[in-house]
């Protein structure tokens, strides 16, 4: 059973990582209009305990986007300088939506693999009973 359970925990770690990624996308979209907000992104890395690769994945450090903050012209804005500009957020909605869709697809793939290993494990046990 250890291969099946290792497969299931690897899929579960993938789902958890994609969920964390989706959370960052939600935060970015929620703050798309916040002045000075920098888009967050996270990288994935393989989990290894004591130099042995366990096959699982986890999210690494959260990094802020280094893209230039856009200058938005809005003289009525409380943060606007004397020329009427303030710094907006560098969240690109198109990129965020694409990232969210990618997270969804990866989550679905992990879910399928989880279900697959569960079904394989229980179908081999089905042989024992008549």
């Amino acid at each position: 059973m250890s291969d099946f359970s290792a497969s299931m925990s690897a899929s579960a770690s993938g789902m958890a990582a994609q969920a964390a990624r989706l959370r960052l996308v939600s935060e970015n979209i929620a703050n798309a209009d916040t002045p000075g907000f920098k888009a967050k992104s996270v990288s994935f890395q393989a989990v290894s305990d004591f130099m042995e690769n366990s096959g699982q994945v986890r999210t690494g450090r959260v990094e802020l986007s280094s893209a230039e903050l856009p200058e938005v012209y809005d003289p009525g804005h409380p943060l606007a300088d004397e020329n009427g500009y303030y710094q907006g957020s560098n969240v690109n909605l198109m990129v965020q939506i694409a990232d969210a869709r990618e997270a969804q697809r990866s989550y679905e793939a992990n879910l399928k693999m989880f279900d697959q290993s569960r079904q394989m494990a229980s179908s081999i046990l089905e042989l024992l009973r008549r």
Binding site: M1, F4, M8, A16, F114, S122, L125, L128, R129
Partner: protein, 96 residues
């Protein structure tokens, strides 16, 4: 026909030796104990994950993973138990 009681007792001893399991409790019972302990650990992990999920301390993936693992552990234990009981009943039905 003359029967020799000595030969009869020797045959009986031989039969006893054949029917006797070789070695004192070789491995089987400790292996079963290990399996049972493993099963109990899986079940306890599943229960604590379910409780943590209900109280909002664990995310859905963890709960589903632990519950699926304990489901498979239960299936294994039930199947093995059924086979063991079946074998035992087969022995009981043996004509003596």
């Amino acid at each position: 026909m003359e029967t020799n009681p000595h030969i009869a007792s020797q045959l009986y001893t031989n039969a006893q030796n054949i029917a006797k399991p070789d070695g004192p409790e070789s491995g089987g019972s400790s292996l079963f104990a290990e399996m049972a302990n493993d099963f109990m650990a899986t079940m306890q992990a599943g229960e604590s994950a379910a409780i943590a999920g209900m109280t909002g301390k664990a995310d859905a993936q963890t709960v589903v993973e632990a519950l699926a693992a304990s489901e498979i552990a239960i299936q294994t234990a039930v199947s093995v138990r059924d086979r063991v009981v079946e074998a035992y009943q087969e022995i009981l039905r043996m004509p003596v």
